[in-house]
């Protein structure tokens, strides 16, 4: 009876309260201030996701600090740490214990828990994911013509391959992530090269040739050059050769007259750039986050009028010496590092002063570089990088003040240059026992361009460049800013070995401090010899090499990041296996 009464009572009360119950829509809330998938599943939306994927080419987005990833420099699209600091070209710069992880890398203390390895690894897959997002959204989108869909697919696959190859160069053994992956704890026990190859082949098939307004987009030429680079990385020179020949014969690309134009923010939409990260500043993004943030430490430390930050990525004496040329032929010297460059007696390749600062020599239009601009001479010297420096006349128009640094700027990060294409083509001829004359021609094309302009007196935008005189008997010589410049052409190569030496030296000079060197030394399998010889001579010159380890063949692959191995565990077993030797 009592229970019965309670039941009736409850029912009556509930019916009474039901009057107040909400409409169903009350509990249905659409996300605020974000797009849901349905809103972007159309041509406009898919293109926007593709733009975001291109934006990942510099490895970094946002002006955020203090996030899980850390800092922009380990992930810089220019690979200045991974391709340059770890070689005979450069030191970390700065001063002791500023960015320990770079110092460890510079000393060949490759530890899997070096936080920079993880940052770079993350950045690569972050870019890959953006490409995959495009492909996934495209599959759901409506109203896109087949032609447009094909091009979007090709561009996304190009980018996906670009990022994977960037990782492949570093670690080789990494998982390939495409748009079908759902469990991200993937194994790395299969060679992913065929997948990189497949994506690039697909891209080549559908990408258009470069046009005057291609600008930042992937083109057929870019995809061919990238696939060639990839083939060469694993020694498939023949496959690379035909691709490079297509790029060259397409006649879409050419070398610009002034070598420096490739590093001048205002002149980078030129025919030499095959692919680049298009940096932009003062464009409405907080702290100009679309600038080349990864290179923001590469400013000169005590440049008058700028903040006192940075001073990273300085050149070695070894690199300076490599620019020495023969007093007669104007060609590189075999025993270049036997003695340090002496201005009174030695001659230099003009490209040296487009590559790094030397005290007493003008620095673009900033006036003469002084030893006091350096952060710590005894530690890393005073050869501050120049290819990543903006002009004084561009201060605050093509550069930006950002946080504690005046350095982020609009200098594009050149990812594939036509001079690289020519040098790759030359290398393929040489390595396939092909046409050495053709190779000689490509190398001399590079040198002929190099002899046109040198750093001028540098007091204004106009005097940044100084035109060198016309060649006499295949040699250009001049004395500018107290420096004796001399550069000559290679005579016909006698044999493959001679051609190979010339090619490899030219590659170092032309692409110095642009993030290629380490990967070149690795694929040529000379890293151990070259780097240990370099260390033996350079260590007494700079404090930053004190306590270094020897380079070994094991180190030709970087170690996979320790944390990522931990994160890949399924039932306690890591799916990701560490590279051998670590």
């Amino acid at each position: 009876m009592f229970v019965n009464k309670l039941t009736k009572l409850t029912a009556a009360i509930l019916i009474g309260l039901a009057v107040f119950s909400c409409k169903k829509s009350f509990l249905e809330r659409l996300p605020e201030a974000s797009f849901t998938e349905g809103l972007l599943a159309n041509e406009k939306g898919v293109n926007a996701t593709l733009i975001a994927a291109y934006g990942a080419l510099d490895g970094w987005a946002d002006n955020g600090w203090n996030n899980a990833a850390g800092n922009p420099w380990p992930v810089a699209g220019s690979n200045w740490i991974w391709g340059s600091v770890t070689t005979d070209d450069a030191t970390p710069g700065s001063e002791p214990n500023d960015q320990h992880p770079i110092e460890d890398l510079n000393r060949y203390l490759y530890q899997p828990d070096n936080t920079y390895f993880r940052a770079k690894y993350q950045a690569i897959y972050w870019g890959i994911n953006r490409a995959n997002v495009t492909l996934k959204l495209l599959a759901k989108a409506a109203g896109i013509s087949t032609a447009n869909a094909d091009q979007i697919t090709a561009e996304a696959k190009f980018l996906r391959a670009y990022f994977h190859f960037d990782g492949y160069k570093m670690w080789k053994n990494i998982p390939y992530i495409d748009e079908t992956v759902t469990d991200y704890r993937q194994k790395n026990d299969v060679d992913i090269f065929p997948k990189i190859e497949a994506d690039l082949q697909a891209a080549i098939a559908k990408l258009p040739e470069k046009t005057s307004n291609s600008s930042g987009r992937a083109t057929k030429g870019a995809a061919q050059a990238l696939l060639a680079r990839a083939y060469m990385f694993i020694g498939k020179y023949a496959e690379a050769k035909s691709l490079l020949n297509s790029v060259i014969t397409s006649n879409k690309y050419s070398l610009v007259d002034n070598y420096h134009d490739n590093f001048d923010a205002s002149k980078q939409n030129n025919n030499e750039i095959v692919l680049s990260y298009k940096a932009s500043v003062n464009d409405g993004a907080g702290e100009s986050a679309n600038g080349n943030w990864g290179d923001r430490l590469l400013g000169v430390h005590n440049m008058p009028g700028l903040s006192g930050c940075c001073g990273f990525h300085t050149a070695t004496y070894n690199l300076l010496n490599a620019f020495k040329t023969d007093p007669v032929t104007g060609l590189p010297m075999a025993n270049f590092n036997a003695a340090d460059y002496n201005a009174a007696t030695d001659f230099l390749d003009p490209r040296v002063d487009w590559t790094f600062a030397r005290p007493g020599i003008p620095f673009l239009d900033w006036g003469k570089a002084e030893s006091g601009w350096a952060r710590n001479v005894g530690y890393t010297g005073f050869f501050n990088p120049k290819k990543t420096a903006f002009h004084k006349s561009q201060y605050k128009t093509l550069s930006t003040a950002s946080g504690w640094s005046d350095w982020p700027n609009a200098i594009d990060i050149s990812l594939i240059r036509y001079s690289d294409v020519l040098l790759m083509a030359a290398e393929c001829e040489i390595e396939t026992n092909g046409d050495l004359t053709k190779a000689n021609g490509f190398i001399n094309d590079i040198r002929k361009r190099a002899w046109k302009f040198v750093q001028g007196e540098g007091t204004s935008e106009v005097t940044i460049s100084h035109a060198l005189p016309a060649p006499v008997a295949g040699i250009v010589a001049d004395v500018v800013n107290g420096t004796k410049y001399r550069i000559g052409l290679y005579p016909a190569f006698a044999n493959q070995a001679e051609a190979r030496n010339a090619l490899r030296f030219e590659r170092r000079l032309e692409l110095a401090m642009e993030g290629y060197r380490y990967f070149d030394l690795v694929r040529w399998k000379v890293a151990t010899t070259v780097l240990n010889a370099f260390l033996a001579v350079e260590t007494p010159k700079f404090g930053c090499f004190a306590g270094h380890e020897q380079f070994t063949d094991t180190k030709m692959l970087y170690p996979l990041p320790a944390v990522e191995i931990q994160l890949s565990k399924i039932n306690g077993e890591a799916q990701l296996k560490q590279n051998p030797g670590y």
Partner: protein
């Protein structure tokens, strides 16, 4: 101050009511009311039984009341005393009131209903607000520390900063899920509002801990429920209460004793660090050499100059600030002194006016002003709040409302608290003593030219002084209640809370710094608007031995949030009055980004609750609740509930003879609650981005970017996180009500706990513009513990009284299971910033959020030991040796593991009160035991993390060939290994703190009655007078970051120190 005329009107209104009653009276009875000590009781309510006639006693304890015809029983009531009745047979009735026998008669609000504490079946802590307000704090949360078993609070010492509260340990990982629900007068408040409640307005605080009581709140009640009832007017003459205190604050402990004090010591450390690395002597042109001396036996220069080519030993005659600061290097700067101040003021003024008449009109008004200067210079916090509530009976309905309006503003530590970059505003830990506060020209000294990236802390604070944040909060409710059909009560309530926050920040260029900040201005505004609409019907009846109460509730809630942020730089003139986001004032080309966002969440709930008692001995209650939250799109609904039972053993016949036990009750409760604290949109795959994160200059313009978007949040459907909790408790009162004891044993088990698992990099989340990891229902977490509360109260003589209260909680936290379907055995907690890799990891079978790193195993003493280092990276004589944890004879990442546990095994509070005649003394101690702290500040002070100041430990306790028992590795500027996360950073965080020591004096009535004052008391107090701890940092009671976080705890990034406060206060009533 309330206007005098208003007071007059209130008096007149009260008088009119009395007058109207007298008109119909038949007989007037006079009398007096006194307490057990024979002193008159002022303000006691005297009412006539069976009528609505009532009055209150005056200051001398006398009253006069008109008896309606036929009535002859008077009822006397007063807070803290038992209600008593007396027959009005004569014209003069005098009674002596008895103090309430024990706390068991206190009324406890347990959610939607109220019960006497003696009838509770669950674990509820009732906190005395009189004790709470002894702690000088703008927030009741700051006062809760150590006051109740099972309740742990942490807060930064920074003025006005948020307080984090945990009840019975951490149990969940999603943001906000660790915060208990706070219900104020029936309306749930966001944690951000809690600072705005005037602690003096709180009548009572109840903490619901067991699931049978928290189940009433179902949704989001996993972390416990705090119920606050605010003060209401009491029937009687208007009463004015004034309280006021003033205090002076000084940091309890500083870094001064740990850091190098002189420039000479610092230079010595640098010399050794370079020399041991084979890098001394340095080239004379390097900054290091210019700063710390040149040559084999360097001598510190008298001046340090930044300009190249200037010798260190002389003043440059071409002084030109800031290009050429001339700084005197010695003797050395005490950067703590530069940044902190002593005797910073703290004070509060509070006044309330309350009263009511017997016919049902009641009112309470209060005003509060709290102001606090930070012990960090140029920081402060100010709060103003007013509150009013009234209640009237109109045609059988009770109508009322509550409204609080609170405004506060603050200048806080620039950059926020517990932010690694900021280690105490960058000044204290990150500045070498060699840098003076001012240079020789009287301008700011700084790191310009090669002293690391530290900032002049004083300059930073000075420049920040106009960056004042403000917030305005309104919250309150209106309600109507009606009784009908004898046993029913219906109540309808609409509540609202609205918060508006404004922040502005102008960053001046710190020209004296090595890496000066770009000047610029940002301002942001956000708004919270939450409402609740609830309807409740209660049926309450007693028949025979049965006592039944049945409650049904329906409620709907909406929480919404919106923010806007904008910025500009390139200001034409840098003046605070010009800091607006107006391109006419700054550089339009700076085109700083404007952003805005929003979120909202809706909930609807149904609740049924039954409370039943048989003979008052056997108590039973049950709750069933159906909740729907829009956060789980598609799977909104979830049923929650709980049952509780209690047996009052002391009422059984066989207990009659046991006179030393006054009350004994056994309780048991079980229930299920939930957690919906996830991102409201987590079910959707979302796309977005912004100018700096996804846009790209595809056209190569150099100065513009094309819109790009990408996935920002990977949608994944999840279900509610549920918690089952069992609780068994015993309440007892012994020895003539002198000893009050409660013991509770609980077992909380979270199932399907929600977490955004950190996925491998292959997922694609990274850095800026990151993709939010998807939520997963991950596994099970348990918290098992025991709580003990003891209160002893006794009189030694009429003059001497004392009381002792203890509360202890022992809790054991464990992650019992991780999702087998995912094959997870552990996961990394999303750690806050760390330059040395992840610091926090959670393993199945271990407590949540343990510290992760190498275990340090001494220092390599010789080449033989180094040779046997098992391949440890960077092994060298004088460096740390890591332990081979997994025994594979190889030191690598797999040897990292749990090195510490931030969860305390014991938390406790001890309160001692003694009074002698008019004097009273209180001492309150609290602390924790068994928790570890990751002292991250050692990264800066004990290794080479940036070029800041270093600890004495580093200079005097580092390894040398003759100091082999050192605690730190050999000084070596190239040592890039020793700083890795290891057990070296871990310290015992246990402590005992004297939170409050207070001595009070109550003025005698004889003195006061002439001035018509009913109560006057003054006191002096010391707060945080001493702390006993082994922890080396400045404060083991670590503050939270700007927001409480569930995902990591116990990391010291440079904690804002807790101040020692000396204060004097006054309470006055009339």
């Amino acid at each position: 101050m309330l206007a005098k005329s208003t007071l007059m009107r209130l008096f007149m209104a009260a008088g009119l009511f009395l007058f109207s009653n007298i008109l119909f009276a038949q007989k007037t009875v006079k009398g007096s009311v006194s307490g057990p000590d024979g002193k008159p009781v002022f303000g006691a309510t005297v009412s006539v039984k069976g009528s609505n006639v009532a009055t209150t006693t005056s200051a001398d304890g006398t009253f006069s009341i008109a008896l309606p015809r036929g009535a002859n029983v008077l009822v006397f009531s007063y807070v803290g005393y038992e209600v008593s009745e007396a027959n009005a047979t004569s014209d003069n009735v005098s009674i002596t009131m008895k103090p309430q026998s024990s706390s068991l008669n206190e009324v406890v609000v347990t959610g939607y209903t109220a019960q006497r504490k003696k009838d509770l079946t669950g674990a509820v802590s009732v906190i005395k607000t009189s004790e709470l307000t002894k702690v000088a704090s703008p927030s009741f949360l700051g006062q809760l520390e150590g006051r109740a078993a099972g309740v742990q609070t942490t807060s930064s010492g920074s003025p006005g900063s948020a307080v984090s509260v945990r009840i019975r340990g951490n149990s969940s990982f999603t943001e906000g899920s660790g915060d208990p629900l706070v219900i104020v007068d029936g309306v749930q408040l966001r944690s951000a509002f809690l600072n705005q409640i005037n602690p003096n307005d709180i009548e009572s605080i109840q903490v619901l801990k067991d699931a049978a009581t928290t189940a009433s709140y179902g949704i989001g009640a996993n972390a416990g429920v705090i119920i606050i009832t605010t003060k209401k007017g009491k029937v009687g003459a208007p009463r004015v209460d004034v309280s006021s205190y003033y205090g002076l604050q000084t940091a309890g402990k500083t870094y001064e004793d740990q850091l190098l004090k002189t420039s000479a010591e610092y230079a010595d450390l640098m010399y050794q660090s370079y020399n041991n690395a084979g890098q001394w002597p340095l080239a004379a042109t390097t900054n290091i050499a210019k700063t710390y001396g040149v040559g084999a036996a360097p001598v510190l220069p008298q001046y340090v100059n930044p300009l190249p080519g200037v010798a260190g030993g002389t003043i440059n005659t071409t002084y030109n600030y800031p290009d050429n600061l001339v700084m005197k290097a010695s003797p050395g700067t005490n950067w703590w002194d530069a940044v902190f101040r002593t005797n910073a003021a703290i004070s509060e003024q509070n006044v309330s006016v309350s009263g009511g008449d017997a016919t049902g009109g009641r009112y309470f008004f209060s005003a509060n002003y709290f102001t606090q200067d930070g012990i960090m210079k140029y920081t402060d916090y100010n709060k103003y709040s007013v509150r009013g509530n009234t209640e009237f009976k109109v045609k059988g309905f009770t109508l009322g409302e509550n409204l609080t309006v609170a405004f506060d503003n603050a200048v806080g530590q620039p950059g926020g608290n517990q932010v690694e970059q900021n280690a105490i505003t960058e000044g204290v830990l990150k500045m070498q003593p060699i840098i003076p506060i001012y240079d020789e020209g009287g301008n700011w000294g700084g790191t310009k030219a090669g002293f690391g990236n530290g900032k002049n802390g004083l300059a930073k604070l000075f420049r920040n002084k106009d960056n004042r944040g403000e917030s305005m909060n309104l919250f309150g409710n209106v309600f109507a209640e009606v009784k009908f059909l004898d046993h029913f009560t219906a109540r309808i309530l609409y509540g609202i809370s609205h918060g508006w926050n404004f922040g502005k920040n102008y960053t001046y260029r710190d020209v004296e710094s090595n890496e000066p900040t770009t000047p610029g201005f940002t301002e942001n505004t956000n708004r919270y608007l939450n409402w609740i609409f609830s309807q409740q019907v209660t049926y309450s009846n007693k028949f025979g031995n049965h006592d039944v109460k049945l409650t049904a509730v329906h409620e709907a809630k909406l929480n919404s949030f919106r923010n806007t942020s904008a910025g500009l730089s390139g200001y034409f003139i840098e003046l605070p009055s010009l800091f607006y986001v107006n391109t006419g004032l700054g550089d339009p080309a700076s085109r700083a980004v404007n952003t805005s966002g929003g979120k909202n969440n809706a909930k609807e709930s149904w609740l049924g609750r039954l409370e039943y008692a048989f003979k008052g001995k056997y108590l039973l209650n049950g709750t069933a609740r159906y909740d729907q939250s829009s956060n789980f799109a598609g799977k909104n609904g979830q049923l929650f509930g709980g049952v509780g039972a209690a047996w009052r053993i002391s009422d059984e016949g066989f207990m009659r003879g046991t006179s030393w036990i006054n009350d004994l009750k056994l309780r048991a409760a079980y229930g299920v609650t939930g957690n919906d604290a996830i991102d409201p949109n987590s079910n959707y795959t979302l796309y977005g981005g912004g100018a700096g994160s996804t846009f790209y200059d595809i056209n190569g313009t150099n100065t513009s970017a094309v819109n790009g978007y990408t996935v920002t949040s990977a949608g994944h459907p999840v279900v509610w996180e549920k918690q089952k909790q069992a609780n068994i408790g015993l309440d007892a009162v012994f020895f003539k009500n002198r000893l009050d004891a409660s013991i509770d044993v609980y077992d909380r088990r979270n199932k399907d706990f929600l977490f955004q698992v950190v996925l491998p990099a292959t997922f694609g989340a990274f850095g800026g513009g990151a993709i939010a990891y998807p939520y997963e229902n991950l596994g099970r977490i348990s918290n098992k513990g025991i709580e003990l509360t003891l209160n002893w109260k006794s009189n030694i003589s009429t003059d001497w009284k004392y009381e002792v209260g203890v509360n202890l909680t022992s809790n054991k936290n464990k992650v019992d299971l991780l999702a087998p379907q995912l094959g997870l055995t552990d996961f990394f907690n999303p750690t806050p910033e760390s330059r040395i890799g992840p610091l926090v990891r959670t393993y199945m079978g271990s407590p949540m959020s343990t510290f992760y790193g190498y275990t340090e195993d001494g220092i390599f003493q010789n080449a033989t030991e180094v040779a046997g280092s098992l391949g440890q990276a960077g092994a060298a004589i004088g460096r740390f040796r890591w332990k081979d944890i997994n025994g594979d004879k190889k030191i690598d990442d797999n040897d990292k593991g749990i090195i510490g546990d931030p969860n305390p095994s014991l938390i406790f509070g001890l309160n001692i009160g003694v009074s002698y005649k008019s004097f009273d003394f209180t001492m309150f101690l609290q602390g924790t035991q068994g928790n570890d702290i990751f002292n991250y500040t050692k990264y800066f002070t004990d290794f080479y993390g940036f070029s800041g100041n270093r600890s004495n430990r580093m200079l005097y306790q580092s390894w040398t060939p003759t100091r082999t028992n050192a605690i730190l590795p050999k000084l070596d500027i190239n040592d890039g290994f020793s700083y890795q996360p290891s057990s070296y950073y871990i310290e015992d965080g246990s402590y005992i703190r004297a939170k409050v020591v207070q001595l009070g004096y109550r003025f005698p009535m004889s003195l006061l009655s002439k001035a018509k004052i009913t109560n006057a008391r003054i006191y002096i107090q010391g707060q945080n007078l001493f702390t006993i701890t082994k922890y080396q940092g400045i404060d083991p009671a670590l503050g939270t970051r700007n927001n409480a976080t569930e995902q990591w705890t116990g990391i010291d990034y440079g904690n804002y120190p807790t101040a020692r406060v000396l204060m004097i206060g006054l309470n006055l009533s009339f």
